[in-house]
């Protein structure tokens, strides 16, 4: 063996790589792998965790696939397939309209999609209930809603709300694909004799990875959604898997083994479509199809068609976003069981006053909203740091085995529903050997923070990988050879180029944390309930209007934080930082 094999520099590098890689893996193991695996293991070995008499049994699997829980699994699968299909279809139409035509207000529609992304499914569901419930908004407008009300509390309502929730995910993925699809592909087809239809058929496969990716994400989001399951699934007598899982744990006696089987099914069912799209893309980003892609050419509608398409888009967006928000807002301005009475519509600020007063058996919104914001701050910051470290590893030029494993692991982890993580956490971190000999995190705020970080990191790490990978290594190397230390090189080159992506990743995690329900519902520290949990307790009671007011306040507060952070970003960062990612500037 040559002397060079043991050169100190090489050994030092080897040590550095090993330790940093090991640290990352320890964090991922504690945050995601061990809690989830431990929980899933209960399905086949309940006695190992004092949950049954067998060290090995398959009886829980057959139990989970029969009766109410079996129906829930089946319902979740077909509902999610339908949601994925609808979401991709609508998202493709909207993305094409916004990205490839001269429709009015293209930036506004893109911003509307962001808003739709930020509104959690439980808020949308409650907004819709406020619209269609007899005596509420629709009734006030003279629309008879009993038929829609019954439809809404069933499969169709669940599919509808989940489709609107999945729509922004599909939209963003397909938009990127369409932006990268330069007009030269269409031109090439047309000049070689293809008609309009054949041109579409020729070009469509180019964005097939984006469509498949959109379907996979929509399917996974739908399978793992808890907000709709908790708000609609419980009262609609239409069981879906996340709710039956929740029921299995909160029933008396709790049935952890069956819950574990449902968790495993949820994870496994979302992995195939996610991996399929990863395989189709073979590591490529759907963002970059060709380095020589020209600017897109837009289809120009005539004046009448342009107004018509804009109006249709506006109507659609009002239906999926405006109406439920309006429902929640109008409901929050009433304080009775009925929005209209024989004497007319009654508007009041009473709910907004009462939401900050403690009612018997109910918390006021103030402290929980503060708790949610604190959680948001910690979770968004923690997620950003960990996701950035992971994104750096994933974007590394010399991707080794460890990077590939992390890549596959994060891809799979995106598909882990929040409720599975939450239950995995109470299951693993409540084990006696941990609570007595290591650390007792059960029912503490740090455990909730860990759980929320664990649920955010996989998607944020993969989202950040794109921007991190786009920064050519030579930019950092140029700073280093021109005298910058590692920190200064990062601060003066990578940080400005990533600032916009980092700010948005932080904001997205922050708002998602505030509105998160599944993990919060399971892991909150007694006496320190987050806002989403408290709002849930109001709704479905005679204090539903207070719940609506709390929902509106929470949403406005989230949007306020986004506005403030973006304003601060605009005020404190140099002009050059803000140019990155803007139209006409390098992205």
């Amino acid at each position: 063996m040559s002397v060079s094999t043991f050169s100190p520099a090489r050994v030092a590098r080897f040590r550095r790589v090993r330790w940093s890689g090991l640290a990352v893996w320890i964090v991922l193991l504690l945050l995601i792998v061990i809690p989830v695996l431990t929980f899933v293991l209960v399905a086949i070995s309940p006695r190992l965790f004092s949950q049954g008499s067998s060290y090995f049994t398959l009886s829980n699997i057959s139990a989970a696939f029969s009766g109410y829980t079996g129906q829930g699994i089946l319902d979740s699968l077909w509902v999610s397939t339908l949601v994925g299909t609808f979401a991709v279809t609508f998202a493709t139409i909207i993305a094409w309209t916004v990205q490839r035509t001269n429709v009015y207000g293209r930036r506004f529609w893109a911003a509307t999609m962001w808003l739709l992304l930020l509104v959690p499914t439980w808020m949308t569901t409650l907004g819709w209930i406020d619209v269609v419930q007899p005596g509420e908004l629709a009734s006030a407008l003279g629309v008879h809603t009993l038929f829609f009300y019954h439809m809404f509390f069933g499969a169709s309502g669940i599919v509808f709300v989940l489709t609107t929730a999945a729509l922004p995910f599909s939209y963003f993925v397909i938009s990127v694909g369409m932006r990268g699809l330069g007009s030269e592909f269409e031109d090439a087809a047309r000049v070689h004799g293809a008609g309009r239809l054949l041109t579409i058929r020729t070009v469509l496969p180019i964005i097939a990875p984006a469509l498949l990716s959109a379907f996979a994400i929509s399917f996974a989001e739908s399978m793992s959604d808890f907000g709709v399951a908790f708000t609609l699934g419980s009262s609609s007598h239409f069981p879906i898997a996340t709710y039956t899982l929740f029921n299995a744990i909160y029933a008396f006696p709790a049935n952890f083994p069956v819950a574990a089987v449902i968790a495993a099914v949820l994870i496994l069912s979302t992995v195939p479509p996610v991996f399929l799209q990863a395989r189709v893309m073979r590591g490529r980003s759907y963002a970059v199809l060709s380095g020589r892609t020209k600017a897109v050419r837009r289809h120009h509608f005539g004046p009448v068609a342009r107004v018509g398409v804009t109006a249709a888009l506006g109507l659609f967006m009002f239906f999926v976003l405006g109406l439920p928000l309006l429902g929640a807002v109008t409901s929050s301005f009433t304080n009775s069981a009925s929005f209209i009475t024989s004497t007319g519509v009654h508007w009041t600020f009473e709910s907004y006053r009462q939401v900050f007063n403690t009612l018997p058996s109910f918390s006021s919104l103030g402290p929980p909203l503060l708790t949610s914001n604190e959680l948001g701050l910690f979770v968004a910051t923690g997620t950003l740091i960990l996701a950035f470290v992971l994104a750096k590893r994933l974007a590394s030029r010399t991707a080794g085995f460890s990077q590939r494993v992390i890549d596959v692991f994060l891809l799979g982890s995106i598909a882990i529903p929040g409720i599975v993580l939450g239950v995995g956490y109470i299951f693993f971190y409540d084990q006696r050997f941990l609570t007595t000999h290591v650390i007792d995190l059960y029912e503490t705020m740090p455990l909730l923070i860990m759980g929320l970080i664990a649920s955010s990191v996989p998607s944020q790490a993969r989202l950040l990988t794109g921007p991190v990978a786009q920064i050519q290594s030579s930019l950092n190397e140029a700073a280093r050879v021109h005298g910058a230390t590692k920190w200064r090189a990062f601060r003066s080159t990578s940080l400005p180029l990533l600032s916009r992506a980092l700010v948005w990743a932080w904001l997205l995690t922050f708002t998602k944390t505030i509105s998160e329900l599944a993990i919060a519902q399971i892991l909150y520290q007694p006496g320190h309930e987050p806002a989403s949990v408290v709002i849930e307790t109001y709704l479905g009671t005679i204090f539903a209007a207070i719940g609506s007011a709390a929902t509106v306040i929470t949403l406005v507060e989230m949007l306020g934080v986004i506005g403030v952070v973006l304003l601060v970003f605009r005020l404190v960062t140099p002009k050059g930082w803000r140019r990155i990612g803007e139209a006409g500037a390098p992205s």
């Binding site: 040559s2 002397v3 060079s4 050169s7 100190p8 520099a9 090489r10 030092a12 590098r13 010399t398 050519q472 030579s474 930019l475 190397e477 140029a478 700073a479 280093r480 050879v481 021109h482 005298g483 910058a484 230390t485 590692k486 200064r488 090189a489 003066s492 080159t493 400005p496 180029l497 140099p574 050059g576 930082w577 140019r579 990155i580 500037a585 390098p586």
Partner: protein, 369 residues
């Protein structure tokens, strides 16, 4: 010059080795670059020239060997000096301009940590903006500039640092032919005016010969020849060096006879009975499968009626602005390319080819290097 301690650096690389897993990118490279000289490392893709430059810069860490820049050992077993402490600057192939900084800020970046007063820094940046001819673009962002303008910014940034060594990583490869020629002259002039030591890598032999005081030819991670450009042209050390630095034709030789210390006489299979005089390239053998390598400059075309010369037929002709470049078939599957003549010979014309012994070498076709 605002940096009174500025000195062109002497660079010494000794027995440098770099492995990427099982692949050996550099294998025992040793060379000395004298202060104030312009050295070009020439080689095809995968020859290790970029790795060598990145090891010099400190961006890559060698597996073994030593690198000394000036009087500072920057890499040796157990010692690694980080890029920011190596007192060098670099012009990158993709320019590596920071898109969020204006031209002025990009150029002034290396001065940010210097002890120069703010006013002196601004003066230095203004001076460089003038020298590279982009003063009017000072407040623009890189994406608002053309490729040539961006490369000028990169050059100004490298010179702004006032360090003893400037590295160039194929800086002209992304430019079109006109801009390449123009910027090549500017790089040569500005770098020599600055008095720095320059190490420049390229795969373009004409660029290498135009710029270099010394040329190093790399092949498969090894430095196969390192000397003055004239010597590489006239005495390539191996068939690889001859081929890579440009030949008009290469023919197997059926017979070789030594006629002096420096000359041989060869017979080509397609011209039996015709003996050509050629040069024995220094340090290279011709005992196994010898070939005749002919430089374009060593071939003259004469009319078929001329008394001397090897018969040939014009296959193609191209006008290059100052004359004509011909492709001449001199035998079955044997042709010469880029044969210059001020006079045009048309396709199909019979001609005679006169070889200059000084530009014809005999060497083994297959060599280890």
């Amino acid at each position: 010059m605002s940096n009174p301690s500025f000195q062109p650096a002497r660079v010494e690389i000794s027995n440098l080795r770099k492995e990427f897993g099982a692949k050996v990118a550099l294998n025992g490279v040793s060379l000395v670059v004298e202060p104030g000289t312009f050295t070009v490392l020439l080689g095809p893709s995968g020859s290790g020239k970029t790795t060598l430059l990145r090891c010099l810069a400190g961006i890559e860490q060698p597996t073994s060997g030593t690198i000394t820049i000036g009087d500072k050992v920057v890499f040796a077993p157990g010692k690694v000096v980080t890029p920011d402490k190596r007192d060098l600057s670099m012009v990158f192939q993709d320019y590596a301009l920071w898109p969020h900084m204006t031209v002025r800020k990009n150029i002034g970046f290396p001065l940010a940590t210097s002890t120069l007063a703010k006013a002196a820094r601004a003066t230095r940046v203004d001076d460089l903006l003038e020298r590279v001819g982009i003063a009017h673009l000072a407040d623009r962002y890189p994406n608002e500039l053309s490729g040539g303008e961006q490369q000028r910014v990169a050059l100004a940034r490298a010179l702004c640092a006032q360090v003893g060594l400037v590295l160039f990583d194929e800086p002209l490869s992304n430019l079109d032919a006109d801009r390449r020629d123009q910027l090549r002259i500017e790089i040569a002039t500005l770098t020599r005016d600055a008095g720095v030591t320059a190490v420049y890598i390229t795969h373009d032999q004409s660029e290498a010969f135009a710029l270099a005081d010394r040329v190093g030819v790399l092949r498969q991670g090894e430095l196969v020849q390192y000397t003055r450009p004239e010597k590489i042209y006239r005495h390539p050390k191996s068939a690889f060096v001859a081929r890579f630095t440009g030949v008009s034709g290469e023919f197997p030789v059926s017979r070789v006879r030594e006629i002096s210390d420096k000359r041989v006489e060869v017979e080509l299979p397609f011209a039996p009975g015709t003996l050509l005089e050629a040069t024995k390239s220094e340090n290279s053998a011709y005992d196994q499968d010898p070939h005749l390598f002919v430089r374009a400059a060593g071939v003259t075309l004469v009319p078929a009626t001329a008394e001397h010369g090897t018969p040939g037929v014009i296959r193609d002709v191209a006008y290059n602005g100052r004359g004509y470049e011909h492709v001449v078939d001199v035998g079955e599957k044997a042709s010469l390319t880029k044969v210059y003549s001020a006079e045009r010979f048309d396709r199909g014309d019979n001609v005679k080819v006169v070889f200059d012994p000084q530009s014809c070498f005999v060497m083994n076709a297959q060599e280890e290097a």
